[in-house]
């Protein structure tokens, strides 16, 4: 397949979106939107697969495929161009592959909805933006994709726009993302100022050159760029402090939650940091910050997920938590770990959301864990599909999640031990392990609650998709949960389940992804001597440790080059093996605990929960973070707005009106002279002439 086809990848979904928009116009055309959208995502997937090997092998300038120049002013030039390297291909594979599976599922899930065409327009547009994001050859185009996915997320969360909570969630998502985007935009400005270009390939290669120059002194711009870009990543990937939008985003249709808010869009931040990792390495504080935020978010969101009753909310917090892992991974200089987890997570989280969607669909919108139990008999396929997803999420040995999570934790541990080890990473690795325990527990809490135990369910009150004739066949058994049809819903799930179980093994044993990352810009250029507690380094003179002085850490990053440093390599290998054992044990422990508390002995759980009522309450209310933000940011800003408006009206406009009164006052002051009596005017005239005459005489003679 010719490599040029890759340029078409973003535009096919865009065309699909336009066609879907056309389908919106007539009710009769609506049904066509689903297949169009699926095709518009599936064709790029085929192209991705077809050109995969050719594209991964591109060298040098061939990696940049330009379509046209988007904008240029003076030296600032932005191309509509794509940067194709193995990392791009992995991301494209995830986006289009998972995307077409989810879109196929959505054809069934959204059947009979009024906004069927509108939904698929959003999905296709999203794939356009997301593929643009991962293919962009420069930061501004990446920003286009970045904001584009934000827009689609806004439109899709707000799909049920008649529900106020969906509207609020959509708005919140867009605005919180915008906060991050501002940081991203400023990061782009600073990057342009520092590197004189926004091209990703040039920026990364320059950064690598800086890193490998032992005499290079990092500037304050180098220090700041990663932090500004990071803000964007935290917004998009829902990390502390900007994670609040993601759980609310579950107000959108479930396929959207699976596609946008689990598998693809939210991982954009991880992708961006991985892509620019040399730039991040230039600042000695950047990656530790990323790792710390990631680790904390993982644990924090994990605890919240423990006490949520809403099926999708549990998965949402779990997504935040897993994204935290990915950040921990890239923060620990293992962009392979981060991307690997991104890859596997896309499979199992999409699977989990879609199976949750099936449950929700079957129970007419019911999402409350307390209102369902023992659905194993009613929905056997969904039950076991979700089981596969849960295993992967919990990190059950040899499932996908197991390998990727283990890679991250082991890398963090490698960085946290040994002679260059830093305590920070050691603690982060321990936090990661604790989070793994929580993950296994809350995942299986949910699964046992839903599918095991005595059969019991309450139907939801969602008549959203039964008031349309297209869904007429559901009327007969609308009051009984039912299994989803194989096509188009369960077959994509089987594929995803296959990925959730085996993707990790394939990647781990074939090593193709590790190799791909090594040959992309995501490969950390050289390892830094990361300090936990920063030395009192002068802010503008951060010495990056060069290749030659730090071969030990380099070895862990370049397994191929590590033969000469077998001791360090062996240590890393040992840690990997050890972590595998530990995390297997933790996963099994978590699953066991969940089985005991939520399947075998539910009354005990209620007692325990009652005993720790306060804790459960706080966790259930998500640590009151939303309320806190509302109180500290939203309310004061709005009050400020009201204040400014009053000020504007009273003071600023008041001043204008006052100035307007000055001529009027002047008029009033001389008004009495205008008596209206003719003689008065005559006298005035005479006096005036007299005075004028006097003056003339005075000057003339």
């Amino acid at each position: 397949m010719p490599i040029e086809l890759i340029k078409l990848i973003p535009w096919i979904p865009l065309l699909g979106a336009v066609l879907c928009a056309v389908c919106c116009m007539k009710p009769a055309w609506r049904k066509a939107a689903g297949p169009i959208s699926v095709l518009s995502i599936f064709i790029p997937f085929l192209i991705t697969c077809g050109v995969y090997s050719a594209a991964s092998g591109l060298q040098g300038d061939d990696k940049v495929q330009t379509i046209y120049q988007w904008m240029s002013v003076g030296g600032f030039s932005v191309n509509m161009g794509y940067f194709i390297d193995p990392l791009t291909m992995i991301m494209l594979f995830v986006v289009t592959g998972i995307g077409s599976l989810i879109a196929t599922y959505a054809m069934g899930y959204m059947k009979g909805e009024r906004g069927y065409a509108r939904f698929f327009m959003g999905v296709s547009l999203f794939i356009f933006a997301m593929t643009t994001l991962v293919m962009a050859d420069n930061l501004v185009l990446l920003y286009l994709g970045w904001e584009g996915v934000g827009l689609c997320s806004y439109l899709l969360i707000g799909y049920y726009y008649e529900k106020p909570e969906a509207v609020a969630a959509a708005k919140k998502a867009f605005i919180v993302n915008r906060i991050g985007d501002l940081g991203f935009a400023l990061g782009i400005f600073l990057t342009y100022m520092t590197y004189d270009t926004v091209s990703l390939s040039v920026v990364t290669s320059k950064a690598v050159a800086f890193l490998s120059d032992p005499n290079y002194i990092a500037t304050s711009a180098d220090l700041w760029i990663p932090f500004l870009l990071m803000l964007g990543a935290f917004g998009k990937s829902a990390q502390i402090p900007l994670y609040v939008w993601l759980p609310d985003a579950m107000a959108g249709p479930t396929p959207v939650s699976a596609l946008v808010h689990a598998a693809t869009m939210v991982t954009a931040g991880v992708y961006m940091i991985a892509r620019l990792i040399p730039v991040f390495q230039l600042s000695p504080y950047a990656l530790p910050t990323v790792a710390t935020i990631g680790g904390i978010t993982a644990l924090f969101a994990g605890t919240i997920a423990l006490c949520q009753y809403d099926l999708k909310k549990v998965f949402a917090y779990s997504t935040v938590s897993q994204l935290g892992y990915m950040f921990l991974g890239v923060g620990a200089l293992s962009s392979f770990g981060g991307i690997f987890h991104l890859f596997t997570h896309a499979f199992f989280k999409a699977l989990l959301f879609l199976t949750a969607g099936s449950v929700m669909h079957a129970l007419a919108g019911q999402l409350d864990l307390r209102a369902m139990s023992g659905l194993r008999k009613k929905m056997p396929v969904t039950c076991w599909l979700m089981f596969a997803g849960c295993l992967a999420l919990a990190g059950f040995p040899f499932t996908a999640g197991f390998f990727s999570k283990d890679t991250i934790l082991a890398e963090a541990m490698v960085r946290g031990t040994g002679e260059h080890g830093s305590n920070l990473y050691f603690f982060l690795a321990l936090m990661g392990l604790l989070t793994a325990l929580l993950t296994a527990f809350y995942t299986f809490r949910l699964w046992f609650r839903v599918f095991m135990g005595p059969e019991h369910f309450e139907m939801g009150d969602d008549h959203g998709h039964s008031d349309d004739d297209a869904h007429g066949d559901d009327h007969s058994h609308a009051h009984e949960p039912h299994e989803m049809p194989w096509w188009p819903m369960n077959i994509p799930l089987v594929v995803l389940a296959f990925g959730a179980i085996f993707a990790g093994m394939i990647v781990h044993w074939t090593g193709w992804m590790e190799h791909s990352i090594e040959t992309s810009t995501a490969q950390p250029a050289i390892a830094l001597n990361i300090q936990t507690d920063p030395q009192p380094t002068p802010a503008y003179e951060i010495i990056t440790v060069s290749n030659t002085t730090d071969t030990h850490d380099t070895a862990t990053e370049h397994p191929a080059a590590a033969t000469g440093h077998s001791a360090e390599h062996d240590r890393a290998h040992g840690i990997h093996i050890l972590m595998m054992w530990i995390s297997s044990f933790i996963a099994l422990l978590g699953i066991g605990l969940a089985a005991y508390f939520h399947w075998l002995n539910r009354p005990l759980t209620d007692k325990v929960a009652a005993k720790f009522g306060m804790v459960v309450e706080v966790l259930y209310n998500k640590y009151y973070i939303d309320e806190f933000y509302d109180l500290v940011i939203v309310k004061p800003l709005r009050t400020l707005g009201h204040g400014f408006y009053r000020f504007d009206q009273a003071v600023i406009h008041g001043l204008v009106i006052t100035v307007g009164y000055i001529p009027r006052l002047a008029g009033w002051s001389i008004q009495p002279t205008q008596s209206g009596k003719m003689q008065g005017y005559g006298l005035g005239m005479v006096l005036g002439v007299a005075i004028a005459a006097l003056l003339v005489f005075k000057w003339a003679f």
Binding site: C24, Y68, Q69, W70, M71, S72, V73, G74, G75, F76, V140, Y143, L144, W146, E147, G148, L151, Y154, G158, Y161, E162, P164, A166, V167, A168, A170, K171, F174, I175, R178, I179, D181, L182, A185, L186, F189, L190, Y192, M193, T194, T219, S220, A221, Y540, L637, R638, L640, G641, H642, F644, Y645, D648, Q649, I652, H653, V656, G660
Partner: protein
């Protein structure tokens, strides 16, 4: 002598006259409307011919130039000429006019002749301001735009009681400001007559030719330049409007008929920024560099304060009106950025065009709602997305363009102006301005999505509908209304995806206009860099030499006499 520009300018005025003659056919509303539409379409055609004849290899030069003498004794001429800045703004005007007229068919039912007469007359004056190469001709057109708009607001406005008041405030406020501008202009002209004749061709005589006055103004001292800058700002900043002289705008917008609002937001506000670019920057370069920080602070304040004000509005139209103030803050910030590559100023010109398109379109959308419901209160309506989906789609589209979504037009201007401010030399603006003004991006999303959430999303709630024909069922956009919005949407998309042609054409003229101010800034900055220890941020701009002959060779009588100590001192504090 090329008559094309004269024709372009005068045609609307001439074609408007028959509307006021006692012609029987014009008693019908539809005939008048068709006639007006035809007239503006012909104007559009003329402007397209101008576009065709425009030589894009030499965008900086005043092309198709021609001149009619007015008062020879005082060097007064009707000078016509067009460079690419003017060209795009003229095209914006002629592009918006047919759309406005198309939208007014059902909105205006009384005094139809007068309405279209003044609307078309206004077009002449707007085009006149953009094509004038003679400052007094510019000024006359600039002032005369007030008259038609005064009538459009005062007679055709929405609320009988308030519209006259709003029209009065609009007229007096802007008029007062521009009287001071007139004083400034006259001072520069007088200054030219006082110059020794050997300096340049028209020195020492009365002349109002813009190029001549550039040369003259370059010889003014910093004090004189500061006063002239103050005088120019008095008129142009009110017109922009720059915070805190903006309060006439929300008033005028809320009372104006839809057509008036679109013209006001689309073109008339740009006269202010155009004036700043065309006159303030090249005429008072030293003063601009000296006071850019102050203007920048007001621009940033305007962006943030009015954005917050937008958020608490209940009247949709007022919200959009305040958003104009906020948006044009970015534009002013870009104009005064003076970065080496003109990113800011080119971005600002883009911003003018883009704001005209997207905000104009939003006013049209609101006008369509007002026609249906006779209310603009957000509390009265909700969930219109279900009831009138086509309207809702267009509105969301233009809101997104206005928010600055990449891929649509608003982004280009916003990104470039902010980038310009960010790259601006430390003694002019600087990155902190961009960082703080950037918060306006977030606030813009907040208030516009707040509006969308209130009126388009949410449970359906529709106020009483009063249709033309007395029926009460809510109708979605008809073909005419779609035809008004579709060209705007297409323009937004095209300028968002393919802005490069316009950007490239703008660089030469913008470079000419900012050249001397940048030279002053660079000089001052170099002094600063040698003074203070090298800053770790690479802020110094490169020595920049324009690739083309600048129309205005900076004729600073003595470059060192510019007292730059204050600037340097301020910069050193950073």
């Amino acid at each position: 002598m090329d008559l094309l520009l004269i024709l372009l300018t005068v045609f609307p005025l001439v074609s408007a006259l028959p509307l006021m003659l006692p012609i029987k056919a014009f008693d019908s509303r539809k005939t008048v409307w068709s006639y007006a539409l035809l007239s503006t379409l012909v104007s559009l055609l003329f402007s397209l011919i101008v576009l065709y004849k425009f030589d894009f290899t030499n965008t900086g030069a005043m092309q198709l130039a021609t001149s009619l003498s007015w008062v020879d004794a005082f060097g007064l001429n009707f000078g016509f000429g067009i460079d690419s800045i003017s060209l795009w703004l003229v095209l914006l005007t002629t592009f918006l006019m047919p759309i406005i007229i198309l939208s007014s068919l059902t909105a205006i039912k009384t005094r139809v002749r007068e309405f279209y007469f003044w609307l078309i007359v206004l077009e002449t004056f707007m085009i006149g301001t953009f094509v004038a190469t003679d400052i007094l001709f510019f000024y006359v057109c600039f002032e005369l735009t007030l008259v038609p708009l005064y009538i459009l607001i005062g007679v055709f406005g929405s609320d009988k009681r308030k519209r006259v008041e709003a029209a009065k405030i609009f007229f007096l406020y802007t008029f007062t400001g521009s009287m001071l501008t007139f004083a400034g202009v006259m001072y520069v002209a007088w200054f030219n007559t006082m110059l020794p004749t050997h300096l340049f061709a028209a020195a020492g005589t009365w002349s109002f030719d813009i190029q001549t006055l550039y040369l003259a103004a370059a010889n003014m001292s910093l004090t004189e330049q500061s006063w002239v800058l103050g005088a120019l700002l008095a008129g142009f900043a009110v017109k922009v409007p720059l915070f805190p002289v903006h309060t006439w705008l929300p008033l005028a917008h809320t009372e104006a008929p839809t057509a008036g609002s679109v013209i006001l937001a689309g073109v008339l506000l740009k006269l202010g920024t155009y004036g700043l670019l065309r006159f303030a920057l090249p005429m008072c370069p030293q003063a601009v560099v000296e006071y850019a920080w102050l203007i920048g602070i007001f621009a940033v304040l305007g962006v943030l304060v009015t954005a917050l004000i937008c958020w608490v509005q209940t009247d949709v139209k007022k919200l959009i009106a305040y958003s104009s103030v906020s948006h044009l803050g970015f534009c002013v910030l870009g104009l005064f950025a003076l970065d080496a590559d003109n990113t800011g100023a080119v971005g600002a010109v883009m911003y003018m065009i883009n704001h005209g398109l997207s905000t104009g379109a939003l006013f049209l959308c609101i006008g369509m709602i007002y026609e249906r419901f006779h209310t603009r209160e957000m509390a009265d309506m909700s969930g219109l997305g279900r009831a009138i989906p086509a309207w809702a789609s267009f509105t969301v589209f233009f809101v997104l363009a206005s928010v600055g979504l990449p891929g649509l037009n608003g982004f280009i201007g916003e990104f470039l102006t902010l980038l310009g401010a960010f790259l601006s030399p430390a003694n002019v603006l600087g990155y902190e301005y961009a960082a703080i003004a950037g918060l306006g991006m977030i606030l813009a999303a907040i208030y516009l999505l707040y509006m969308v959430g209130k009126i388009i999303f949410g449970p359906l709630k529709v106020p009483d509908v009063h249709n033309d024909d007395g029926t009460h069922d809510l109708k979605d956009l008809n073909t005419r209304e779609i035809a008004t919005l579709l060209p705007l949407a297409a323009a937004c998309l095209i300028l968002g995806m393919l802005p490069n042609g316009m950007l490239n054409s703008l660089q030469a003229p913008v470079e000419q206009l900012t050249y001397s101010a940048k030279a002053v800034a660079t000089q001052a900055n170099d002094t600063f860099v040698t003074d203070a220890n090298a800053t770790p941020l690479r802020l110094a701009i490169d020595d920049h030499t324009p690739e083309f002959a600048p129309g205005i060779a900076p004729q600073l009588t003595d470059p060192t006499h510019a007292p730059l100590t204050k600037t340097a001192h301020r910069a050193a504090e950073r």
